[in-house]
């Protein structure tokens, strides 16, 4: 089921972070960054034996764009709720969403996406049943939230990580 990716995720990210941190693309820093990335990845493998195997770069890029759009959109929505709060307090509530995604990296990404978007906060995942509890600031349509999370985020994440 799992095939190795084009490039391992951790060393590549570490090398990019190193170059950004030094704000330089000189040969010395590229070499140093590569050595650093390989050494740290080898050390981390001992601590965390399960590596991330992301696949399908185009799905990941599309997901990033989608998340960016959603963050902008929900910033506006939450701003509107706050400015209208004197007239009407928002109806807060929890939504239970059964997930099919099992990969720990995919779940971690989903929690970052959900919590990073204003208006929704990840409030726990039951490991036995794989049911996500999601807290929503202005809960109007429970079904719509389940659909949004499952279609917009969970499906691409399953494509990338599973």
């Amino acid at each position: 089921m799992k095939r190795p990716p084009l490039l391992p995720l951790l060393p590549v990210v570490l090398a990019i972070v190193w170059l950004l941190l030094n704000d330089s693309l000189s040969l010395g820093h590229v070499l140093l960054g590569l050595v650093f990335a390989v050494l740290v990845s080898a050390a981390v493998r001992l601590l965390r034996p399960l590596p991330a195997w992301p696949q399908r770069l185009h799905v990941a890029i599309h997901l990033c764009w989608q998340v960016f759009l959603d963050i902008v959109r929900s910033n506006i929505d939450v701003g509107r709720v706050i400015l209208g709060a004197t007239r009407r307090q928002p109806t807060i509530g929890f939504v239970k969403i059964p997930l099919d995604l099992r990969d720990p990296h995919g779940l971690a990404m989903l929690s970052i996406i959900v919590t990073g978007t204003p208006g929704t906060v990840w409030s726990g995942l039951d490991p036995a049943t794989n049911v996500l509890t999601l807290h929503v600031l202005d809960l109007q349509d429970e079904e719509a939230w389940v659909r949004t999370i499952k279609h917009r985020y969970e499906r691409p994440l399953m494509g990338i990580f599973e």
């Binding site: 972070v17 950004l20 941190l21 704000d23 963050i71 902008v72 910033n75 939450v78 701003g79 709720v81 706050i82 400015l83 709060a85 004197t86 307090q89 928002p90 807060i92 929690s111 970052i112 959900v114 919590t115 990073g116 978007t117 204003p118 208006g119 929704t120 906060v121 990840w122 409030s123 726990g124 807290h135 600031l137």
Partner: protein
């Protein structure tokens, strides 16, 4: 190097971005005052943490790129670190509040 050295093509969008970022963060902070329960308030500061911070960082990238006359993008690191740390604290706060309200 001073603020007057920033060319107009960078200064104008940077100003707009800074104003937008400031307003978004202000509205987010205002939410702490205007919303009435903890569970509603927890959503408000995320505005400043996402788009608010994003606008300020983009403005910073623009002006430093214009001043240094080369591409300066190491602000992306701040974005990365905010992205991986802020949700952790929010989730922890949320879990703590849920456990406490269950008592």
């Amino acid at each position: 190097m001073s603020a007057a050295d920033v060319p107009l093509w960078a200064a104008l969008p940077a100003t707009v971005l800074l104003i937008c970022g400031g307003l978004l963060t202000l509205v987010g902070s205002l939410g702490l005052l205007r919303l009435d329960s903890f569970f509603a308030r927890i959503h408000a500061p995320t505005m400043g943490g996402t788009l608010g911070a994003g606008c300020v960082l983009l403005a910073s990238m623009l002006t430093s790129t214009a001043l240094a006359e080369r591409l300066v993008i190491h602000e992306l690191l701040i974005t990365l670190f905010i992205l991986i740390t802020a949700p952790v604290t929010t989730t922890l706060l949320m879990r703590a509040a849920m456990l406490r309200s269950r008592e």
